[in-house]
């Protein structure tokens, strides 16, 4: 047992030194348990950088182990841990392998379908369920073997196209929202398929699940319909309905942007002053983001120092320490100082 684990650990450690990204924290703990000291330091530094709370637990565990004599079950536990640790590496490969296999099988099926179309209907149906999932995962639409059936199922009975923003009636039939609305207007409030009474179509809502599924399965058709719809309604003031996913995504992006703005608010404010200065000088020098941020921080410190009467020399970094001022500088004086600093720094870069 004891002789086995170190050998494994050495293998792992060699791997780890070459490609440190693939080492899982669990493995690190396992290596630590095996008592590999030269690894220990590196691992510890790693872990501290990544997840401090985990490293502490590992250290605790290791110290426990060192103090105690190893219990009889610890060997098996160790092996388990190593097994688990080795999991993350092949998982990535497995995913790829599975995807590749699926693609291959899809191609095979396509070929098979071309040869014998009508006879494999039942088989197709059975495969439909398991096929849809990977299809929905990779949006690069692989042609499903049952795509024609799906197309029939998901097309609107009124316009005979793929349902665009499908709306489902109370009787369970789905049509394009627009088609259903005009059907209710022109043909009375009856379901076009089963003639059951339906609402007046004014309040019909999009069946989100169905709509998303359609968008995943028939992106081209949906896009074409959207393009034609936007072309038709360009003159009208009604905005073309966007898909919910897109809206959600854009909203998320917006909130993220806002959060970032809030975070960078102060630094931006500070930097803007410096930027305007540079613009006035007409310099074409472009600072990269990092130096910008660093400069902003410096300015911030400077302003803070001058505002609260601390000597600026103590607060500022070594590069801009020359612009020290006495403790009784007024606020306007500080601003002038800042501008001077900004111009100097920009010139230096």
């Amino acid at each position: 047992m004891v002789s086995e684990t170190p050998s494994k650990a050495t293998n792992r450690s060699v791997d780890g030194s070459s490609a440190e990204i693939f080492i899982s924290p669990r493995f690190k703990s396992a290596a630590a348990l095996a008592g590999w000291d030269e690894e220990d330091l590196i691992i510890a530094s790693f872990v501290v950088e990544d997840t401090p709370e985990r490293s502490s637990s590992k250290r605790r565990r290791r110290s426990n182990l060192l103090s105690k004599t190893s219990p009889p079950s610890s060997g098996s536990r160790r092996r388990q841990r190593i097994k688990q640790s080795s999991n993350p590496l092949p998982v990535i490969d497995l995913d790829e392998v599975i995807r590749r296999e699926e693609e291959k099988s899809a191609e095979k099926k396509k070929r098979k379908n071309k040869e014998t179309k009508p006879e494999t209907k039942e088989e197709k149906k059975a495969e439909e369920d398991e096929k849809i999932l990977p299809e929905e995962k990779n949006t690069t639409s692989v042609v499903l073997p049952c795509i024609d059936k799906l197309r029939d199922e998901l097309s609107c009975a009124i316009c005979l196209e793929i349902c665009f923003e499908p709306s489902t009636t109370t009787c369970g039939h789905s049509f394009c929202k627009k088609c259903l609305r005009s059907a209710a207007d022109k043909c009375g409030r009856k379901c076009p398929k089963c003639r059951q009474l339906i609402g007046n179509g004014k309040y019909c809502t999009v069946n989100t699940v169905l709509w998303n599924t359609i968008q995943l399965l028939f992106p081209k058709e949906v896009e074409a319909q959207r393009a034609s719809a936007s072309a038709n309604f360009l003159s009208k003031e009604t905005p073309t309905p966007r898909d919910s996913n897109h809206r959600l995504r854009s909203r998320n992006r917006e909130t993220a942007l806002q959060a970032r703005l809030q975070r960078e608010d102060i630094s931006r404010l500070l930097v803007s002053e410096e930027r305007s200065e540079r613009r006035r000088r007409g310099g074409s020098v472009r600072l990269d983001q990092d130096s910008d941020a660093a400069f902003a921080l410096r300015l911030q410190r400077q302003e803070f120092a001058s505002a609260f009467g601390v000597t600026a020399a103590g607060a500022t970094s070594s590069s801009s320490s020359s612009s020290s001022s006495s403790s009784d500088v007024s606020l306007s004086r500080a601003r002038a100082n800042l501008r001077a600093m900004a111009s100097r720094a920009a010139r230096r870069q």
Binding site: A157, A183, C187
Partner: protein, 183 residues
């Protein structure tokens, strides 16, 4: 058969072709959905009819006009209409899927649901039309009245009465008409 004015040998759907030409440049010129939507739907139905035609039926645009079709139904065997080829005219309204097509028999037929002008008394072509119905379904419905006339919803009550009272006589006359007009 009539030839439509300006009809070329090659099929060219008139209204949609016009709209397609203008849609890119002047979107305001494009008709307010109904016409182009109906054109689209009719084209789609035509494509589906070509791929999967209903049994003993055929249909297609008469000439250039996508909204004017001609259809044929072969009289089903086991009926007095057996072996006859019946021509029908189908005229689609501009708001087609929402209003039924106007179907008229061009071939004379002795049937209680078809009047002397060729108009049909079929409910789905009138009040119980649904936008989910297609040309295929209409043709199938017409084919079923060949197999099973509806004497209680007649276009010509005289024939309906004969159908109910003296079926043999009715069949005999119908067969004669088929022989005379539909072959």
């Amino acid at each position: 058969m009539m030839t439509t004015p300006g009809g070329s040998g090659r099929f060219k759907p008139l209204p949609t072709a016009m709209y397609a030409g203008y849609s890119g440049t002047a979107s305001s010129w494009v008709a307010k959905t109904s016409v182009s939507a109906s054109g689209k739907r009719i084209q789609r139905e035509m494509a589906e009819l070509n791929v999967d035609p209903p049994p003993e039926c055929s249909a297609g645009p008469k000439g250039d006009n996508l909204y004017h079709w001609i259809a044929t139904i072969i009289g089903p065997s086991g009926t007095p209409y057996e072996g006859g080829i019946f021509f029908l005219d189908m005229i689609f309204p501009s708001d087609y899927p929402f209003k039924p097509p106007k179907v008229v028999f061009k071939t004379r037929i002795y049937h209680c649901n078809v009047d002397t002008a060729g108009n049909l008394s079929v409910e789905i072509l009138r009040d119980s039309w649904s936008p989910a119905l297609t040309i295929t379904k209409v043709l199938q419905a017409i084919r079923t009245i060949f197999l099973k006339p509806e004497p209680f919803n007649p276009a010509l009550p005289v024939i309906a009465r004969l159908y109910l009272s003296d079926r043999e006589k009715h069949e005999e006359v119908a067969k004669e008409w088929t022989l005379r007009f539909a072959k």
